[in-house]
Symmetry: C2
Subunit: 344 residues, 2 copies
DNA sequence: CTGAAAGCGCTTACAG
DNA sequence: CTGAAAGCGCTTACAG
């Protein structure tokens, strides 16, 4: 590998000057800069990332902590982050959190503290107190995306509003027997910012506002199969709903599968609405609340870069602000799985 | 941040000894090792990745070059790689290749050459000659996964066999009017190892072996919508097939959508088979050839780690072998979208 | 604008 | 088994 010294030598300047010419930091004459650049090109020189990081303290690398990479939502967010970072010349290192306690401990106690990254984006995971403490102790900007912890600065969707809008869509169509399939966080978890909990809250508010104090809820695990089971039970139970609000598109697919299994026509016998804006939602003709995950990734990428530049406009990206507005957009997309109930 | 010097000082040893105690390299007395470890724990010391990389030449980091991160197949492979690397304490940096020439040039000419990673896994992308040359010039092990270039050592599925098995399944059911929806690589590309081309070859061989010299082919782009359009045309054309073999599960979904659109019952009026083993294939009750993408990721992760350890069993992981066997497993999974044709 | 020198925080021959 | 010293390949005050 050719080193900066080689470049300096062939350009006839000192290593310091070569460094300045190539990095663009510090004053340098146009002629010298040209000469050095030419030498670098000729030799095919590329600066060593590790040497440069060690010397400058800048790694030009952002870490992303992500659960379940193979889940469409996270993969899409990741793609948005990656595109934004790459455009600015930053690398992205991936930290995959699993449910394995030993793996998590190693991640938070060691991997993240090795100084490989200049900043960190944490995608929506439930964090233990000790994990939050580790993140806060990191000497770099940390930005959450949908992270349900007020102690971590984060970008968020107003999920209470999401729950409300989805429910109001069904109410406006005339539905009264509406059930939510969502997810209950583990006992003891901080639920104030928990996404499924907020969607449920929006659902309950909308139902109450419509004079429907009962807001039937069923617990699933954000998988197709889990939602399918739960929907089956709801639809064959004593009070089958005429509409189901699923807290994710993949769970909505499970509901569609259950309906098909039971010979129920959608939307004639059952209306279904999801949340996410999944890839295949159009194929399923699924009504959903799109939350633009790719854009979420871009926004997170831009925010962390701004924090690294010190040009952050949003104070709450650097320091957590409990009441920071949930600023990420969402939008109701009406398709063919929702319609007025049969009776009306 | 506390440094190794701090640890050495509180343990009462030299920095060199502290380094040895913590890394496990070089001989050291058990007592000293214990003392140093205790000091490190106490101070919450974690070695700087960049300093350690620069000094040792080992980055403990593997790069993964991936197109289309939001595609289920790649996301799943990535998850398999990540799990394998994490278990060995390796980090993973992600290099997303797009179609943008400037971005690609920067990736191959600069990013990958910055010395941030010890090894590289390249997921199935079409590579230009110059890009192949850049990869080969890298001073680190490079392993392809489904990469259609003999010059790059790679793990592969026997995609000709995949095409054959899928087709033979349809033939065995009694179908004679079978069409393939696949993908034609750009003109001039090396097609010997091209995955869609090999699947097509297997299809054509199986058809010919069955005495059916005509093997109708339609070109799509591996998306649901693209396959849906193409399938619509096939099914409303002069010679509508009784079975369609789609070269990916997502394209198979498009075929299912087209059938639904046209009021064709699956499998009564039309049989459909895909390839991949997609997440939602079970939901769609789709017959497919599972190629275990998560396992592919694990295998690739293990292979690159073996290459880094110098313990690689497979010679072709270190140096490309043109006739290296395609050793990755696949399996026909028969579900409800395939059945005998109406006429038989 | 340019150079000599120190330093980033580790690892590793080399001696002992 | 342990330590002193050099070195990994850059960047950046500090002088000039």
């Amino acid at each position: 590998m050719t080193s900066l010294d080689d470049v300096a030598r062939t350009a006839g300047v000192s290593t310091a000057t070569a460094s300045r010419a190539l990095s663009g930091r510090g004053r340098i004459s146009a002629a010298t800069r040209e000469r050095v650049r030419r030498a670098a090109d000729e030799l095919g020189y590329v600066a060593s990332a590790t040497a440069s990081s060690l010397a400058s303290g800048r790694a030009e690398n952002v870490g992303v902590v992500v659960p379940l990479m193979d889940r469409w939502f996270f993969a899409t967010v990741l793609d948005g982050i990656s595109a934004t970072l790459a455009a600015r010349g930053y690398d992205l290192t991936l930290y995959n959190v699993t449910d394995d306690p030993a793996q998590r401990a190693h991640l938070f106690e060691t991997s993240l503290r090795r100084g490989r990254v200049d900043g960190l984006i944490v995608l929506s995971i439930l964090l233990a107190d000790a994990e939050v403490a580790h993140l806060r102790a990191l000497p770099i900007p940390v930005l959450g995306l949908g992270v349900p912890r007020a102690e971590i600065a984060a970008l968020r969707v107003d999920d209470t509003a999401v729950g409300r809008v989805a429910t109001e869509h069904l109410l406006a169509l005339g539905h009264r027997e509406i059930a939510l399939i969502g997810n209950t966080p583990p006992a003891g978890a901080d639920t104030v910012l928990d996404i499924p909990t907020r969607r449920r809250r929006g659902f309950e508010q909308a139902m109450a506002d419509a004079g429907l104090p009962s807001a039937p809820f069923a617990d699933a695990d954000f998988t197709v199969a889990g939602a399918q089971r739960v929907a089956h039970d709801l639809l064959t139970g004593p009070h089958p709903p005429t509409a189901i609000f699923a807290a994710s598109d993949e769970m909505a697919y499970g509901v569609l599968a259950a309906a098909r299994e039971l010979g129920l026509a959608v939307p004639t016998d059952l209306s279904v609405i999801g949340v996410d804006g999944h890839d295949l939602a159009e194929l399923f003709d699924l009504t959903t609340i799109d939350q633009f995950p790719h854009t979420q990734g871009q926004r997170a990428g831009e925010a962390i870069l701004a924090a690294l530049d010190g040009t952050s406009q949003d104070a709450h990206v650097l320091a957590p602000v409990p009441d920071a507005p949930a600023s990420l957009p969402f939008e109701l997309v009406v398709r063919g799985t929702t319609a007025p109930p049969r009776s009306s």
